[in-house]
């Protein structure tokens, strides 16, 4: 790598180098407020990208645009070769590729954990009941809460709920996982169990975009880190680059606050 501008680093997909997500000049407006001001980012297969930045910088908006919870107003978003357009078929095809984990878990409180996990495979992928249950139990074992399968979300601890939410997303066999601050609603002792689950997921080769300020996690699993401010990508680099030698003044300032 010879160039060092953030844009060029952002457009070099990591991982296997095969491009899974491509964002080109993505813009998003909320009325007359511009939340994303031309985002360029390429994410490679098996790559883990951690996004950080101050509150209101557009991190959530960015990953919500990728699975069309928000509609972008300019630029291009391509997921695994499919360009996101207004075509409803396109949108649902892209959503099949993407799993999403929310800060507030958003489990369905009126259904048991197992039902939460089997719901989408059965309703969207039309898996038979027994098969969906078997797969769901495997997912719950993977996130280490098989014994909670028959409880309701409200009966679980925060950490268990978030792991159930991860299992729910994984049950759809997505190629890419999006995480929006998955641990910031959790008590410290529960953060660890969720991060461990995510680390295992990363090791298994899942492509991931993670909005998080958990620096230990970033250092351990991130291939690249992206620092955003005011709707722009300010700096992109490896964790080493960020922790040893950040270039931009705003990055330094932000890191000094959270480290």
């Amino acid at each position: 790598m010879t160039q060092t501008t953030p844009a060029s680093k952002a457009m070099q997909p990591g991982g296997t180098g095969e491009q899974m997500i491509l964002l080109e000049g993505v813009q998003k407006w909320f009325d007359d407020f511009q939340a994303l001001r031309g985002i360029d980012l390429a994410v490679g297969r098996r790559e883990v990208v951690v996004v950080l930045g101050p509150s209101g910088s557009g991190k959530s908006t960015l990953i919500r645009c990728i699975n069309r919870l928000e509609k972008h107003d300019g630029g291009r978003i391509v997921v695994d070769g499919i360009e996101l357009s207004d075509d409803l078929r396109n949108i649902s095809e892209i959503r099949r590729e993407l799993g999403m984990v929310f800060q507030q878990f958003n489990l369905f409180p009126h259904r048991t954990v197992l039902d939460n996990v089997t719901l989408a495979p059965r309703q969207v992928r039309r898996r038979p009941r027994a098969e969906a249950r078997k797969a769901a139990m495997e997912m719950l074992e993977r996130v280490r809460i098989p014994e909670q399968a028959h409880k309701y979300p409200g009966q679980l601890s925060g950490g268990q709920q978030q792991r159930a939410a991860i299992a729910r997303a994984l049950a759809m066999e997505p190629k890419i996982m999006l995480f929006d601050e998955p641990t910031s609603a959790l008590d410290p002792e529960m953060i660890k169990e969720v991060l461990e689950t995510m680390e295992e997921l990363a090791e298994s080769g899942m492509t991931m975009i993670v909005v998080s300020h958990e620096m230990g996690f970033a250092r351990a699993v991130a291939d690249r880190m992206v620092f955003m401010a005011d709707g722009e990508i300010v700096e992109v680099g490896t964790p080493d680059h960020f922790f040893e030698n950040p270039q931009e003044e705003r990055t330094k300032q932000f890191l000094s606050q959270i480290l």
Partner: protein, 420 residues
């Protein structure tokens, strides 16, 4: 019962009973009723008033009241001019209802026990719950049978009660797999009962009156206005402006007029709005339509409140999983929204139940109509028996309303299990 800590899966130390203070009655009285001089005055005053009231009512019910007006007209009050030779249909319907509802209750109880055993639900209620649930109905049945003074009727009712109890026992033996169909079973029982009364040379509702008509209007009204109201509420949030405008207009117009107007207007114009050649529906059907149209608007607003209470995150999670908007609504949003509005919804249905009395305006003789009628009978006119009649009718309304209210509280607690 041992509890499990959800985060570490260790059994909790056996939960201790909350400390129960034993207060001698004398002290309890002193602390609660006679703590200050003005408390004492109030206590004495209200005790006196209450005693007087109880005495007067008791004396009226058991000594002064001339209940022969009810005894003589019990049949009219309950089923109005239902033909003698078709009465067996009503009895059969009663047995069908007793059986199916008993089965449904039994199966529901088994499911419930299993949930509790699996630690997914907290036990609710307390001792003698089934008994307490049916108590008002039992009291009512006892009063009716006492008034009827008929051995045959008593035996028939006892038989129905036995069928209900047996049904409940059978329900508990049903395999869990079938248990979820019991709600459907209860509905089928209701439909079957209706079919038995009207089908195959039966008695058309257009001739019904008394309590029978009241119940018919209430159940029919609830059963149809509920889904209609849900559709209106969903329509009000539709992304299609035309649908939205139609729903909002409908809801706001209906909510702006009294039920009595809706009934009357319905009575007058339903005949005209149908395509020529279709027979005009009976007055009872028109009353039913009026009640449904009216209630649906209120149900819609109640459901709308429920829909608004479902957090955005629920929609987003469903969307992110790839669920279609229809499935998101049906599987994720509506169940949560409806659960949140059970109390308001049941309140609306209790109103509907009592408001059926307004159909007198279009010439129908439901329970209250019969009550009015019998006080004007030649042998009872000008004897001031209106109070006996009203008290009796109130008892019927009260048992109905109170049962609905109780069942709604049960349902609420049952569905509330596992909520955040």
């Amino acid at each position: 019962m041992t509890s499990i800590r959800v985060d570490t899966l260790e059994p909790l130390p056996g939960r201790e009973e909350p400390p129960r203070r034993h207060v001698p009655p004398g002290r309890w009285l002193r602390e609660n009723l006679f703590s200050t001089w003005y408390n004492s005055v109030l206590t004495v005053l209200f005790a006196a008033l209450l005693g007087l009231l109880l005495y007067r009512v008791g004396r009226f019910v058991f000594v002064d009241g001339r209940w022969e007006i009810i005894e003589r007209n019990l049949r009219l009050l309950l089923v109005f001019r239902f033909p003698d030779d078709a009465l067996w249909r009503l009895w059969t319907a009663m047995y069908v209802l007793a059986g199916t509802f008993g089965l449904a209750a039994g199966a529901a109880a088994t499911v419930r026990r299993a949930e509790v055993a699996a630690g997914r639900a907290r036990p609710i209620g307390g001792r003698f719950l089934p008994l307490r649930r049916v108590a008002p109905v039992v009291v009512l049945a006892a009063v009716l049978l006492w008034l009827a003074g008929s051995v045959g009727a008593t035996l028939l009712v006892a038989g129905a009660a036995a069928v209900a109890v047996l049904g409940r026992l059978a329900g508990t033996l049903l395999p869990r797999r079938y248990a979820k169909w019991t709600a459907v079973l209860a509905l089928v029982g209701l439909a079957a009962a209706f079919g038995i009364v009207i089908g195959l040379g039966g008695v058309s509702p257009r001739t019904w009156g008394g309590l029978l008509l009241t119940i018919y209007l209430a159940i029919g009204g609830i059963a149809i206005s509920f889904p209609l109201g849900v559709l209106l509420a969903l329509g009000r949030r539709s992304s299609l402006p035309a649908v939205r405008v139609v729903c909002v207009t409908y809801i706001e117009i209906i909510r702006g007029v009294p039920l009595i107007t809706v009934l009357f207007v319905g009575y007058l114009i339903i005949g005209f709005t149908l395509p020529p050649g279709t027979p005009t529906p009976s007055v009872v059907t028109r009353a039913m339509i009026g009640i449904i149209l009216f209630t649906a608007a209120y149900v819609a607003e109640i459901v709308r409140g429920g829909l608004q209470s479902v957090p955005r995150g629920q929609y987003e999670a469903a969307q992110a999983l790839g669920l279609s908007p229809v499935k998101t609504t049906w599987l994720i949003v509506l169940p949560q929204a409806l659960r949140a509005v059970i109390p308001a919804m049941v309140g609306q249905f209790i109103s509907l139940f009592k408001d059926t009395s307004l159909v007198f305006i279009i010439g129908l003789t439901e329970l209250l109509g019969v009550a009015d009628l019998i006080t004007k009978q030649r042998e009872f006119t000008a004897q001031g028996l209106i109070f006996e009649t009203l008290l009796f009718v109130s008892l019927l309304y009260w048992v109905g309303s109170y049962s609905m209210s109780r069942e709604s509280q049960r349902l609420e607690r049952r569905l509330g299990v596992g909520e955040r």
